[in-house]
Amino acid sequence: MQLKGAEILIKVLRQEGVHTIFGYPGGVLLDIYDELHKGDIRHILVRHEQGAVHAADGFARASGQVGVALVTSGPGASNTVTGIANAYMDSIPIVVLTGQVPTHLIGTDAFQEVDIVGITRPCTKHNFLIKRVEEVAKTLHEAFHIARSGRPGPVLVDLPKDVMAALTEYKPQLPQKAAEAPPRPASKKAFYVMDLIAESTKPMILSGGGVILGGASAELRKMAWLTKMPVSSTLMGLGAFPGSDPLWLGMPGMHGTYYANMAISHCDLLIAIGMRFDDRVTGKIDHFAPNAKIVHVDVDPSSINKNVMVDVPIVSDCKSALQSFNALLEQQKFVVGDDQRQEWFDQIAAWRKENPLSYCHSDTEIKPQFVIETLYKLTRGRAIITTEVGQNQMWAAQFYHYDEPNTFLSSGGLGTMGYGFPAALGAKIAFPDKLVIDIAGDGSIQMNIQEMATAIQDNIPVKIVLLNNGYLGMVRQWQQLFYGRRYSQTDITYQPDFLKLAEAYGWLGLRATRPEEVETVLKQGLEAPGPALMDFRVSREECVYPMVRPGGPIHEMALGREMAN
């Protein structure tokens, strides 16, 4: 059967299980858009290509499936770079399809030509330029395979216009299955880990995004419950272990809980699973878990011994490793002696009591933490939360509690302002029946605000909880704490009237300026059938605490009490 490149593209997408893509048309994409017009793939028309990639990323994080974005050549392609780098840092499986000028014009500085393969080489897991129509099917299948296998990541495929228009014989190919079974821990090492757990009096688990990406949350919970080890999870790992469980310590690191950071600093065994010892987690490396034997499980060998030198390196995907550990625990009928951990649990309880996660309540000003607490109460923790980047992100990580994986979507590695809202659109496409809420700041939300039109046109009723303090809050916080309150270029009081903006886009806009209005506004916004933007005028100079100073050891935290009282 003779088919056009564009037709083959659609067929491959269907075969790979793609039912929705996020895109923006352009001259070199006309053949593809003509096929989309005929076909049954849902296309979400974004208003900026960065939004398309973040939406595909949000779709991938919420569903575990590969997200797909389709953009045109030149500026369309270069607009995707931030979205791609974002997915790369957080290991998110997406495929970005970029249009390209016809092959005979490549390299001539043709209209809307850019070397997107060259530009994205360092921020994709892999990328391709397809030069012959015969290669379309094979390359696209390979792209999906690379995106989702091993440590997942973004893959870009550059599609010249003439290749999409050319005809070739097409035979459906089977999607590539994983070439080999994921790596598992050697049994000797797994037994050694069992010995370490048995000997330890102060053990803990530190899990990361790899557990969520690897679909290993159930296995993680089982291991923690079998061994009664307290669990902390990085920002990327939130939700893998229930935020309401007694063994839960909260997030570690720069804005982690006091007790998580103290536990890391005092434990004698740290089992790190699917995390990569990011500087925001470790603080000063020399003081990180100084008394602990460290076991590190990661599917990517290059993550092991990169930042922290570990005692037991295990190259394995998280699910296989946890399954091996759990099988041995059950086989050995592992039980924790009654008094073996008592001292450790008492110590953690004491830390928890000493410095719980808290903030100073107010009757006159809306505290941003109070908004999130109320949101948690009203949604009973069942919403999918996305965040922007900065204070809003940290409060969302601290004061909303995540009981399920894939329900907290946040730009961890790259720290991309403007991520949360388009990501929420992607998540809502994946789970139309779930409540999807972007917790935003007034700085970040303006970075991809144009997607409010997308939500209306494609009927994607997400909610925006805007913590509006008129500042670029996190940078202002650093200026307050480390730069003598010189608020250089962080005051953004000059901003649109968000209610009128909501109205202009056809959204429901609501505002709260006093604490007693918070619950009513949230209820109204969440219950509205369509998209809603809730503008909370929060206390302007609230800081995120606890805080480890940049480059400092994580057991030294500013707790903010001096500020609160």
């Binding site: 393969v117 060259g118 080489r121 360092p122 897991k125 892999h126 330029l129 690379i146 990517d300 060998p301 290059s302 011994n305 990169k306």
Partner: protein, 161 residues
Amino acid sequence: MEKKEYTLALLVSNKPDVLARVAGILGGRGYNIETLCVDATLDPAYSKIILTVIQDKTTMTKIEKQLIKLIDVHKVTDLTKVESVTRELMLVRMKLSDTNKGLLALIIDTFNGRVVTMNGDNCVIEITGDRALIEKAVASLKPLGIDDMARTGIISLERQN
């Protein structure tokens, strides 16, 4: 940590942008490639890249782990870890004069070199050897007036017992 010269052999796909990917891993992290040699293997679908980097051991391990992550890099061998034969080829163009001819002939003979071409007042000499030998040859030729030179950089092959 002490830095030394490491020679890596990379088996890669013989494709247009593979070299850029490999160079990007090193350059993007601020590591210099000292020498570089590339050609197709017996199977033209693959190329062998041989490159040298001056680094400490820990950094080298990280570089190797990053390189093998590239989809088009199929194997990375640290040739400094295994017993291997190392060669470099150098072409040198020398200005000839009545005063340097005799010494030049002696140097060519000493380093097992040969004259590739001779053209009036200049000649091109070829010398092959390991890096130390080439360095010595350069040092000997320099006082006689090197006009220009080109070096291939190191190639290396594991010995098999």
